[in-house]
Symmetry: D3
Subunit: 280 residues, 6 copies
């Protein structure tokens, strides 16, 4: 299937298992620091995989030891963070910044709206944008050497591409969220596991990828109608009250329960074999 996809400039996209895609940020010399063309390309990749029938789950890593050092501050300081307010009035600058931030946010949100589950694997330096991306993914795991940080206040800004909107919804301890976001202190794998930011810690990056593939593989073996519906319903329910969650679930399943996957799954269960499901 790899041949079906175009090749990408800043990312490697491979298919280590049937129905499992692997996105790898590929700028190891710069610790995978992001500049604009990268997040634009990431959106394109994720949007493509979202409806690609041969993909049922995705893992996401960085090339080399660091997941990402975050925003390429040098590039940003010539662009986004350098609005050049001198030339125009602050209101017009604000319009441009707002559009720019909204587009950047949309690239990160691609992970959340992706119809397939995404397991993100943090390893080594995982700063700033790493947390935005991780919070938009579905499952977070990390290697023991991961160093994580909501870095933004250190460069004078409030994180604006997702961390502040999502971190409090993926970690229950809101006091911890506030502390790490307002101090920009680095936290490690153990702490991340303790507060529930990551699901699991592995000895090193290699083991973490293997662990991530296992989770991704498990998901890829189930009915895609069931798994993708589950992702959608969990995300919807996070953003709505219980009653709206239940109602939406009922409407969603009024179509989904008509899938033949249920009969296949039940039959396979009785016959003790692994079911196969049509593409979706």
């Amino acid at each position: 299937m790899a041949t079906e996809l175009p090749s990408y400039e800043h990312f490697n996209v491979t298919f280590p298992q049937e129905y499992v895609a692997h996105i790898e940020t590929n700028r190891p010399k710069k610790m995978n620091a992001y500049f604009e063309p990268m997040w634009l390309e990431l959106r394109k990749i994720v949007d493509t995989l979202s409806t690609h029938p041969s993909v049922r789950s995705i893992i996401f890593t960085g090339s080399g030891p660091a997941f990402t050092a975050g925003l390429d501050v040098k590039a940003a300081s010539q662009g986004l963070l350098s609005p050049d307010g001198s030339k125009t009035d602050p209101a017009r600058t604000a319009f441009q910044l707002r559009r720019h931030v909204a587009d950047f946010q949309d690239c990160v949100s691609a992970l959340e709206r992706c119809e397939k589950p995404i397991i993100i694997i943090l390893h080594g330096i995982s700063y700033g944008l790493a947390i935005d991306l991780a919070s938009a993914a579905d499952v977070r795991i990390c290697s023991a050497d991961a160093k994580m940080c909501v870095k933004e206040v250190d460069i004078g800004l409030a994180a604006d591409v997702g961390t502040l909107s999502r971190l409090g919804k993926v970690v229950g301890a809101f006091g911890w969220v506030k502390e790490v976001c307002m101090t920009a202190r680095v936290f490690g794998a153990e702490e991340a596991a303790k507060v529930g930011f990551v699901n699991r810690v592995f000895a090193d990056k290699e083991a973490a990828i293997k662990g991530g593939l296992e989770v991704a593989g498990l998901m890829a073996k189930k009915s895609p109608v069931a798994v993708q519906g589950t992702k959608e319903l969990l995300n919807w329910s996070r953003d709505h009250n219980v009653q709206d969650g239940l109602r939406y679930t009922g409407v969603w399943n009024s179509a989904a329960l008509q899938t033949s996957d249920i009969q296949r799954a039940l039959l396979s269960g009785l016959e003790k074999r692994t079911p196969t499901f049509e593409k979706l």
Copy 2:
């Protein structure tokens, strides 16, 4: 008081302590697997206890080693999961499924809307519907042998009677919620305690029931006006922003603070004795 209640077909309802009711699913030969008449009867029981003046808290268990194996798949595959789409068009089938799911959801929601707190005790096999029910209860405890699982994707469907709408609201670590819901992997008591799904783990079912009764007993000894108001206000606040939570609380308490329970509680406190409260 037991004599005041009718006897039920699929459940035992007893009163192990003053003001404490015990609901026990009673289909141990089938590992307490549920079919439709059971959830309809459960709703009837919970709705009755909800306004029963002799009940102030409730524990909920299963008869035998398993809490419940979940949906009785055999029964369901002849009913709910067998919409017989061939006979009619998918839109009409969808209307029927939606009504059916809504009614089933309503049975599970009975636990949440019950005015009295419900302590659910998971033990042994606690699959599928067990998690829906547990998420709708107020306090979850389990025995060390509990095996829990959001089973639905294994049979080709997204859980639709409450788990997906509530689990992310009772457990803070949303990545964990996503993982267990999209992999259907079994998790045990220790893990459940670590992520906060259960409040406490006991050595075995017997100890867990004893522990559950202690919690239930503590609640039953307090002012029912205070305890039932607390349940309502916590549930409301979960579904609303802080400002709406505070406002609703103020309106609620504008009546509740006029209770004589406050004077009774204060006086008993001074006199170092246990207060008694009028029925509610």
Copy 3:
């Protein structure tokens, strides 16, 4: 700067570090139990510090061993909890109670709406109102001897000045929240840390204050535009869905990103020195 502030009757307000304020409840003989003039004064203090340009973060403690025993029940039983329903009809009493509760709630909410982060340090007896205040603060830490309790049901009422609306939003394990709110049982430092209610436990009050000052100091050294924006955006996002969180963030940052703090922070980073920022 201390001289710029008026002196207060029930609180000591000091400035242990540059840009860090310390609020101390000062009624140690009564275990810092609160009566109405105290919460009114607390609001005044916090509202003042909220926009005071010399304050960038705040720690909050109690004088003496107890943080607070909660409401001064004796005072309350002659006021708020003694609505004297006999003289008027319950509806009119309800109007008065509602106004009274709303005003009290507003005093507690002052901590949440304060533009600067507040680190609250629970020590010794920390009952009732202690939890309301702590839930409205940003970061909670405690000493090993802290004894915490959502005390309200013990005196016949549902907590109404913030705990029920906020505790479920700062602790992920909702079953734990329900248990402690409906049983009024005391919990200690270790349990509080385990469920994520407090960020950290220190050996004693003195160490906890030192720890709190460190966190406060870290925050005070960052750009105040960044830190205060972060607090606001985290609080907004807690109360809104992700999309509204992102949109609001973009609008907020369309002004905030025009700050010179970003250039200062970036430059200082390159030059390996600590940046200084204009007052805010």
Copy 4:
């Protein structure tokens, strides 16, 4: 089909046209004033028609000249409005009132949740409960002699079974809504039409019924999948923002668009004949 339904005590239910039901309140000697058994029976009727495959739209009128004089105050003053607060404390009375009001509200809400559109025809005296019911219906029309009134403040209470929650959502001019709700002044047909409370005014009750049947008949001739989906989506959208409205619509229609009604409707359109649709 009439024979399929049980006969009712306080209402006449007839079928004046194919697929159109007519509910008539039948207590003309008391100007159709409602007491509790009546609203309980109304709920039963509407819930039955809601899923009855032979019903596609409903008109609702009163027997005799008055639609309804509202609550039977005499009956209510011995029940709902006589909480007998002397016997118990106000908090316990509040619990009972809340349950009672909730159940009454649910009876009125039956009109809104009914899957089929309801055209209500106000004629003659249409006070109090008339407005609650009318606001919960889908289309309101009236005869020229209709005298309407949000009567509740005249008897010392805020309308609590729907008018205050719905009237502002069916009439755009919120100032008018506030005026009629806070003055209890009577308004006539012309005013009701001008503000958009009723869709149309007819010369007399007979003409209004004929007009109502025409609207109901039009709806009954369309695809029931389309009409019932439209009611649901309009009600959902009223209560949600546009984005949630669109999303829910897309999910709903992902099943509904699979109906054969579309092919039938398109074909009939080409062949210039009236389509027929399977029951729903």
Copy 5:
């Protein structure tokens, strides 16, 4: 009662009828144009009347022919609209503007949160702030000579103290709202009545005041528990979905229905006399 209130600098507050207060903006020489001390004083007045037991409804007019020409632009251009961005960075200016706007908004919102209904009477020039105030009032009436205008875009800004948040909620025709807000064109009494912005038009200011007093008088004669509850419930329902509206109503009325006003109103009704009600 007039003597009970302090006298005010920019407003006349009188009591033309029992239980009815009249607020009159008193800066006729400047067409009642507002500058900061005026809106701060207005808040004080309205907050006072809100809980004043001798007030049950309020009318609000301007002294002289104009209701208000809006913001005193000259004063504003030296204050609010002159942020002097040159001296500080735009982010810090934004903090100050935000606080300033929030405080100004709060002064206008005083009309909405006032527990008593407010009838605003627009006459002559009624520009800018006039519409903000009118949208926050409960009932709007006007004289035939009223010239109304959402003036803000004419001075380069989006209206920010209420019009944009409320006008679309008091007028149903959203296209009209958008047109008048984005063109700043003047509209007259007839148009205002046609779109439902005002409830009624009177020949001149004198007649409008008389008409306003009639509406206010009607409200003042009803049970204050009922009328004030009605205002609160209508405002709440405007901002919430129907279900939350109903639930809140039930909780509110669980206290309010215990009022003796109901018995008084019912008895008076039977005895054909005007009821009197205790103060509130």
Copy 6:
């Protein structure tokens, strides 16, 4: 400026006045019926104009007598409305339909998210999609010959690209909305004006275009910071409660009030000349 834009296949885009764009659907031989490439192209055009600095307002019409006959049913019946359910299971078909509808909705929503105000001019046949588009525009005007219809139920489906989510938010009379959506009856210009669906009716298409250009011209002459902010704040407020509306407005204006447009507008006002504003 026209030369700066590419030419489009299905639309004419012209610039009849400075800062005013005119979009004209250009398929007059088919009564401007839409098929998929058309709505995709419309999105591209509107998204482009949204940030084009030379555009400050937009009018939208159809070429020839009809605005649009709606969906090109023939094309749709081979695509969207022909899901070919036979080949796959209904759940998979549902996934495809949902994606398809979501993309179509997004094309219509382009009008709403466009930063510039859009005045839509309905003329002649304006069916189905015409109402979806019109509801997403800001101001609706029409010619006297306009024939409007929410056509969808006539072809067996619930309108799903915007009408059901937006019509009830642009017209206050919800009963009228329900009637026209569930009967698919045609309504004319006079009725549309009476219920507030259109702002104004003109004698014929030519006059309507002239009238539309006048409104658009008025908007184009004001500060673009003010007008575009006003559109955004009105749309946000429609979807949020008043408090969130006010808060968002304050944050938005904390940047917008720093514009030089305010000084320009004030000065021009004093000097009685027309201000000019920088591009945005």
